[in-house]
Amino acid sequence: MLQLVLFFVFGTIAVAAAVNLLAQRHPINSALSLIVVMASLAALFLLMGAEFLAAIQVIVYAGAIMVLFVFVIMLLNAGAEERTPGSRVAMLLGFPAVVLLAGSLAWTLLARNPRPAPVALGGGFVGSPTAIAQLLFRDFLLPFEVTSVLILIAIMGAVVLASPPRTTAGAASPEPPAKRER
C-alpha cells in the first residue's frame, strides 16, 4: 500500500516535471525539471529494490551529467527559446502525438506482459552493490572493460571538439619575458 502511494507520488512528480521540461522555454528551467525527473526515478528505482542503481542515478545522472548541462547553459548564456513557425506546428502536433505514442507504447509493453503483477517480493530481491558487482565483474567483464575505451574516446573527442580554434595574435598571452613560475 505504502509502495503504491509512493509510486503514484513519484510517478506524478516525474511526469509533471517531464511535461514542465517541454513547457519551459528557458533551457535552465528544462534542465532543472530533468533533474527532478531523475531524482524521482531514483526513488522509483528504490521501490523496485535497485538501491545501488538509485544512488548511481543520483550521482551520475543528476550529480554529473546534469551539471554538465547546466554548465553549458551558463557557459553559452543560452537565452529563452525563440518561437519559429516550425515550433508552432510542432506544438499543435505534439500533444496528440504524446497521447498516441504513449498509448501505443503502453499497449505494446503490456501486451507482451499479460500477467498483471508478480507475486509479492518482500525484501528478498535487492540490487545491492555486492550483487551488482558480482555480475559486473564476472559475467559482464568484457563490456566493463570496453566502457573504459568508450570513456577514453569520449574524453578525447570532447576535448578536441570543445577546444577553441587556435588563434594567432590578438588574444595570445602577453607573458612576461623572463621570469615565470618556478
Binding site: L44, A50, E81, L101, P116, D139
Partner: protein, 100 residues
Amino acid sequence: MVPISYYLVLSAILFSLGVVGFLIKRNLITLFMSIELMLNAVNLAFVAFAWQWKSLNGQVFVFFVMVVAAAEAAVGLAIIIAVFRTRETLNVDRVNLLKL
C-alpha cells in the same frame, strides 16, 4: 504491491514525452535533454523488468546505459559548443547545415 504494468505505463509516458520534446523543442540543449529523458524512461523499464524477472542483468544494463549517457553528454555538448562557436545560435532551425 505495485503491478509492473504501472511502471511500464509510466515508462511509456516518459518516453513519449521525450520523443515529443525532441520533435517540438527548437533549442539544441533541450533536444539533448529530451534524449536523456528517453534514456531514463528506458532505464525505468529495464529496472521494472529486472524486478519482475528477479534478474539483476537488467540493472547492470542500466548501469551501462548510464555510462553511455555520460559519454554521449560529454561529446554531444562539446559538439553544441563547437556549433555555437561558429553559428552563435542554438536554434535547430538555423543549424540545419552540416558544415560547421
